[in-house]
Amino acid sequence: MSPDRLIYMANQIGKFFQSQGHDKAVPGIAEHIRKFWDPRMRSAILAHLDQGGAGLDANVRDAITTLKQT
């Protein structure tokens, strides 16, 4: 799926968790994406991360990195 739209959606999730601080935000974002995104959306954002992850906010990038590890 279009990475632009997914990047936008992921960053939107990131903004909600922003004020909870990095330590809570990263697992929060990762869990949200794992719970609500269908596998093709998750693979597309992981593929985007593999290609450098341009446009992803810092917490979001960290969260997607942890998704990759699980």
Binding site: M1, S2, R5, M9, Q12, I13, K15, F16, Q18, S19, Q20, H32, K35, F36, W37, D38, P39, R40, M41
Partner: protein, 959 residues
């Protein structure tokens, strides 16, 4: 079957807990203090003659028919206005009373036409009944004197006579038959709260007057039908009764319009509906109705209903009518071919929030067990999905916390992003009744909705915020509550996670969240906001009611969380009168969500990844389920455009008209290889469909709906499906063609399966619902009769969870090209995409969508009231006519979305809620300019729709 007649006790019940014992006609009767003698007698089984009394309104004491004698008291008091007292000895029949009553009736009848045989109320006339009850045999006064009955008297026109008012499409007003009992006037005031009717004149000149002696249609009347229901004669009569005659049997069922879920008696003659009358024992509506449920059911027999299945290879071809079996086989082959070519996940389904729980359950079962994926979603995606996320996060379950009766105990009503008098009118009336009794009102809405100021109601505070700033306003209210020490600390310490509360309290206390700091972008006067916050926190039982003005934003879920935070911080949860109350848009939004319509959740809001839950479904369905969440509606569209999603089964939702950014939806539907539309009419989505499966109406099937207060109510079949199959049978047919066995012979068996698999529904069965009338889930071993109020003594999730709600402005911004903000909503007489209500006489109240614009903005653009204007956003443009009004603030414009030719959603954008992808319908940056006619889009759309709706003529086989 027979006609259901609820007992009319004559006056409303008393609420006192003190009991009083008295004697009526030699029988000892014990009733609550404050009960009228009339009601006490009826409780004991004695019907005292009456005309002006009915238990839907307070006693009035005008007809003088219900007189009684009380031992030791002088005179013959009216039993409707005289309360019981301990030890009273009452006689309801005596020589004196008989004579008095007969005299009263004689006077009434002397000014009433004697056309009983041809009168529409014949068989349902209280005046006739009372004449019989008092033994009236003669009218000594004759009909020669002054009267309201005859158009002419003594060869001259009779000035006291008035012709019938037939202006309302659904009922007539015949002043010649009026006995001026005021029941209609009082029903309009007390039950509906519109105050459209009055009695004009005095003495013999008295008559019922809509507004200032206007026609019913021209007055403020909202056509709720309460006056017609209250009328004891044929003065106010349904046109359908005039045309058809009196019904012979009735069946209790549930309205298929909004989320209030009114119970109705479908009054029938054979399989023909004579009228729909609100059912007094319905716990959601308590005997009241609105213009939609009461009258707007004509769509069920509308000539445009499609009654035969249809198929076609491509949308450029005309439709071809086929048998059910051929349609199922065609659809199944297409879906299996798509899965063969593009993979298992390339198809999905959308369940309908208008269909029954059982039908919704079957569609999600078809997707999960049959398609082998979890690509199932529901129209709740585009309305209340943020409620699901927000309330599950904070309280632990996705549901409103109260029943509707709760509002009777509320001291402060906070309405945010909802317009109950238009969109949830029957509950709106109940709310208004409480407000007239003195409850305080806070309205948070960009638009001056009717509740802000209407007869005998005035909001204490109207915070007219800029669209898109809900979170900032609610967080500013929390700022005031925390910094001014108004938190209910005992409640929070006992019921909530204290450390999360502390984090939240520290956050909301930051100066950036103060009313003064946020006013710059919310546009809300800080003093007013502070007063509103103080009122909410300290005014007694405070309840929040909200609608799609909360959820349909990029921060929809955050706003729901902010609402929950406020309720927890002030201790307004867990008892009658308080709570968080989402007003659901459609009849079964709550139910469709409960039934596992979301791609990540099985019935009962349990994540698909949970092994134990998933395995229980696998065991029951005898199939291995996919544990990955599926696509949500907007994701389906994106995947379709990208090429990985090719087939969609849509039950009872018009996604093309109702989803945002129509151009995008058209592109998505056009990219699919098989779209199955299962609906009553060739809706807009059907223009891009390959299979059309005709649907059945709520009158043609059995099932249940769950309303906004979690109340599960029966839908009962009153006529055979005109299309041949009930909707649950259609889904079963499709499933069988795909090789999936679904062996149900009645929807009750589907409910039994739901109950077996879903802990919150464990105690639900059709037998239970028949016995109780309805039940609010959770309904199980712990709560065998259901749960009117949730979170009593503790939250479902354990400790209530406070979550920080940072305001993030939407990316949909105004600028030089698009300087105004468009927000959208519903109107009383129409319902959502209008597929049903546009096919009824409700069209007389709203024949087109209009663009509300403030006089200042209109003048700047040279726009006059009624002018055609071009409404353009970054997504698209359309045209419609302007309505100049101060209801909207400068800078804000508003329209409804009931008409497909307006296409309000051509304008709305792809922005959506961060958590749930619920579209941001409520904020779109637009420009408005004068226009000469339809936009290019509208023209090309109309042409496509015309071509796509062609149905090939059936070719008769040659001999």
């Amino acid at each position: 079957m027979s006609l259901i007649q609820e007992i009319d006790f004559g006056t409303p019940p008393a609420k006192s807990e003190n009991l009083v014992t008295l004697t009526i006609d030699g029988q000892s009767v014990t009733v609550p203090e404050g009960t009228s003698i009339m009601r006490a007698a009826m409780e004991a089984g004695t019907q005292i003659p009456k005309l002006c009394a009915t238990d839907m309104v307070d006693a009035f004491g005008s007809c003088r028919l219900c007189l009684v004698e009380i031992e030791g008291r002088a005179g013959t008091p009216a039993s409707c206005t005289t309360p019981v007292a301990p030890g009273l000895v009452i006689h309801t029949q005596s020589e004196r009373l008989k004579k008095l009553r007969k005299g009263v009736m004689e006077l009434y009848i002397s000014d009433h036409p004697l056309d009983c045989l041809t009168c529409a109320a014949n068989g349902d006339c209280e005046l006739q009944d009372m004449a019989g009850a008092v033994g009236l045999r003669d009218v000594r006064y004759g009909y020669q004197g002054e009267n309201h009955v005859f158009a002419e008297a003594h060869g001259k026109a009779n000035a006291a006579w008035m012709p019938k008012d037939e202006s309302n499409p659904y009922f007539t007003y015949d002043p010649a038959k009026c006995i001026v009992c005021s029941r209609c006037v009082r029903a309009c005031e007390e039950v509906q709260g519109t105050f459209a009717l009055t009695i004009s004149g005095r003495g013999f000149d008295s008559r019922v007057s809509p507004g200032m002696s206007e026609s019913f249609l021209g007055s403020e009347c909202v056509s709720c039908g309460a006056c017609v229901q209250a009328c004891p004669t044929a003065t106010l009569t349904e046109k359908s009764v005039i045309e058809i005659g009196q019904p012979e049997h009735s069946v209790v069922t549930t309205c298929a319009y909004c989320g209030v879920g009114c119970a109705f008696k479908a009054e029938m003659r054979g399989e023909e509906v004579v009228r729909m009358v609100p059912y007094k024992d319905g716990k959601a509506n308590r005997g009241h109705s609105c213009v939609k449920g009461r009258f707007a059911w004509g769509y069920t027999t509308h000539k445009e209903r499609i009654l035969k299945p249809m198929i076609r290879e491509s949308v450029s071809e005309p439709w071809r009518e086929v048998s059910w079996d051929e349609a199922f086989a065609f659809a199944a082959a297409k879906f299996r071919a798509i899965q063969g070519k593009y993979g298992r996940d390339a198809v999905g389904g959308i369940t309908s929030s208008r269909c029954t729980n059982e039908e919704t359950y079957l569609v999600q079962k078809l997707v999960r067990a049959g398609f082998g994926n979890n690509n199932v979603d529901t129209c709740a995606r585009v309305c209340h999905s943020p409620t699901g996320y927000g309330l599950a996060t904070t309280f632990g379950t996705s549901a409103g916390t109260q029943d509707f009766d709760s509002v009777e105990h509320t001291d402060v009503v906070l309405v945010i992003g909802a317009n109950p008098t238009d969109a949830h009118p029957v509950f709106g009336s109940r709310m208004k009744k409480r407000l007239r009794e003195g409850a305080k009102l806070i309205v948070i809405d960009p638009r001056r909705i009717d509740l802000v100021q209407s007869p005998h109601i005035k909001a204490q505070h109207h915070l007219a915020l800029m669209p898109g700033t809900n979170v900032a306003v609610l967080t500013a209210m929390a700022h005031v509550i925390v910094t001014k020490g108004l938190v209910d600390e005992a409640f929070v310490r006992e019921r909530c996670d204290w450390s999360e509360f502390e984090d939240w309290a520290a956050f909301v206390s930051l100066p950036k969240n103060s009313p003064e700091a946020t006013a710059i972008y919310t546009g809300v006067d800080p003093t007013e906001l502070r007063a509103a916050a103080r009122l909410y926190a300290t005014g007694g039982n405070a309840a929040i009611y909200y609608g799609l003005g909360v959820t349909e934003h990029s921060q929809g879920s955050t706003t729901v969380i902010a609402i929950a935070n406020l309720a927890m911080a002030t201790g307004n949860i867990g008892r009658p009168g308080v709570g968080v109350n989402p007003l659901r848009g459609q009849n079964n939004v709550q139910g469709s969500c409960d039934m596992g319509s979301f791609p990540h959740e099985l019935p009962g809001y349990r994540h698909i990844a949970g092994d134990a839950v998933r395995e229980s479904f696998e065991a029951m369905w005898n199939v291995k389920l996919n544990k990955e969440p599926g696509l949500r509606i907007p994701n389906m569209f994106d995947a379709a455009i990208e090429g990985s999603f090719k087939g969609l089964y849509v039950q009872g939702e018009d996604i093309l008209q109702s989803d945002p950014n129509t151009t995008h939806t058209v592109a998505a539907l056009s990219a699919m290889e098989c779209v199955i539309v299962h609906d009553l009419f060739l809706n807009e989505t059907a223009n891009y469909a390959h299979v059309f499966l005709p649907g059945s109406t709520f009158l043609e099937k059995d099932g249940t709906f769950t309303n906004a207060e979690r109340r599960i109510q029966r839908v009962r079949k009153v006529m055979s499906p005109r299309n041949g199959l009930a909707d649950w049978e259609v889904t079963i047919g499709l499933a069988k063609a795909m090789g999936i066995e679904m062996n149900y012979t009645h929807p009750s068996e589907i409910m039994d399966e739901i109950a077996a698999l879903t802990p919150t529904f464990a105690g639900v069965s059709y037998a239970k619902l028949d016995e109780l009338g309805s039940a609010q889930w959770p309904c199980n071993e712990k709560a065998p009769e259901g749960t009117p109020v949730m979170h009593i003594g503790g939250f479902v999730r354990g400790k209530g969870k406070f979550v920080v709600t940072e305001y993030v402005a939407t990316d949909e911004r105004t600028g030089p090209r698009f300087p105004l903000l468009l927000t959208t909503g519903r109107i009383l007489s129409q319902y959502n995409v209008g597929a049903q209500t546009r096919r009824t006489d409700n069209i007389v109240w709203h024949e087109e969508d209009r663009l509300e614009i403030h006089p200042h903005d209109a003048e700047q653009r040279g726009i006059r009231d009624g002018d055609w204007v071009r409404l353009a956003s970054r997504a698209g443009e359309t045209t419609l006519r302007a309505l100049i009004t101060e209801r909207v603030a400068p800078g804000v414009v508003y329209t409804t979305f009931h008409h497909p030719d307006t296409q309000a959603n051509v304008i709305t954008t792809d922005y959506s809620d961060w958590a749930t992808n619920c579209p941001e319908y409520k904020v779109t940056a637009v420009q408005v300019s004068p226009s000469n006619g339809p936009s290019e889009w509208q023209k090309s759309y109309e042409e496509q729709a015309r071509r796509s709706r062609r149905i090939a003529p059936v070719v008769e086989a040659a001999e």
